[in-house]
């Protein structure tokens, strides 16, 4: 089957830690960065953009079936994502402590 720039694919985005599932259709050549950006901009999803202290959350997209992170510059096609696969959206973790500076 040949794919073009406009070929679309349906995937399930699972948001962590809420566990909510969101079904979306998007071009197969969408990159990880583009997908995360679009999900962040979606007002219905209302994903937090900043942590409680105002520092930016950085999200990553993960393909469970391929066991690989879809990095910002890689597309779904590059990674081999198929129709109806589950992709996890999770924030990159930073904390290791609770730190108050004096």
């Amino acid at each position: 089957m040949s794919y073009t720039e406009t070929t679309e694919i349906r995937v399930m985005i699972r948001l962590l830690p809420s566990g909510d599932d969101v079904e979306i259709e998007l071009p197969l050549y969408s990159t990880g960065g583009e997908i995360v950006e679009a999900l962040l901009e979606d007002s219905e999803l209302n994903l937090p953009k900043n942590d409680p202290e105002g520092n930016p959350y950085v999200y990553k997209l993960f393909s469970k079936a391929r066991n690989v992170e879809i990095s910002p510059e890689k597309s779904l096609f590059d990674v081999g994502v198929r129709e109806d696969e589950i992709l996890l959206l999770m924030p990159k973790l930073v904390a290791g402590t609770t730190h108050i500076v004096h």
Binding site: L16, E53, E69, K92, V94, A95, T97, T98, H99, I100
Partner: protein
Amino acid sequence: MSKQKKRISIGREQAWDSTFQLMSWWKTEDVTKAKVMVVGAGALGNEVLKNLALLNIGHILIIDFDTIEYSNLSRSILFRKADAEKGAYKADVAASRIQEINPNIKVKTIKGDITIDVGLGVFREMDVVIGCLDNRLARLFLNRACHKVDKVWIDGAIENLAGELTVYKPNVSCYECELTDREWEHIRFRMGCPDIAARNAAYGRIPTTPISSSIIAAMQVQEALKVIHKNEKQSMAGQKFYYEGMNSTMLQYPVNSPKQDCMSHFLYEPIIEIAELSAEMTIAQALEMIGSHLGEEQPVIVLDHELILELTTEKSEQAHAVVMPKPHLSESYLSQFVQEMGESVLITKEAVYIGRDFPNQDLSLKAIGIPHLHIIQVEAKGETHFIELSGDKDWLQFS
């Protein structure tokens, strides 16, 4: 006649790790000789330190500049309410408590900022480094430092019921290579903060739990044990482990290969050890010794950070001669120079290259921002040399 019941023990006291010795791969000598640096003594750090002590890791270096707050107690097995009431230092209390747990181990603490107060030679002395940090800038620094001296560092991060572990090994995996544009924006913003508090602030209220810290810290120590036992085959180097407890999700996956053009991929070699060279020496003494060693009359020390030599108030235009390593700058320090309300204090003179023409030759290397047992860059004979302040090795005493 009454009979006395008396229990007599004959034989040697059991070794602390007698149970671990039942594991075929366990090497007592490697474990008791091991030196492990733990950066951060917060939620993750507490768990890491507890596990290292229980496992009888011989030498543990704890780095943290923070004091204990009441809110820490719910995630810090080593701290108590009295410690918070006193405002005791996390590093000191953690060191004391793990030695109560296991009197066999030796510890050292550094109450300082990992980005400016810990010499590269200290990293070089370690078998492995465990990162229990709370911000990206410190992780970036740790990554660069470990790459310079070819050390594995094991990163942990937690939030809520989630946690993540990555084993960074030079040439296999790299924290800097993973950073996205958005993360770089944030890091650059932090790097631009002249105030030490502002650079380190603001990650203070992310919710963490003893559940995620227990899991991730346990795995960090597991991976540290593999490094100590030189078990490269089963190491998680190049892998990331992610756990999310609310959805019972566990992932282990490969990280991307290191990129070609990354600033972290810089190995200091060869490292020249000068046995008498110390951060306590004056600039003049140090340059003399280095010059003699390299056969160069005009060696130049290249500082890792700018050294501020003059501050000038913006409106009142008063210039003040100072000697302050830029990362040590703080708003409270600058405020002493302010003459008119609301005026800024500008840096009007700074230096990075310290040679024989530097005016204050009597200043110690420490005073210009070079920590003990650091590995300094020196320009001489048209080349860059990496010289360790090996005279400070005694400073790194574990007790």
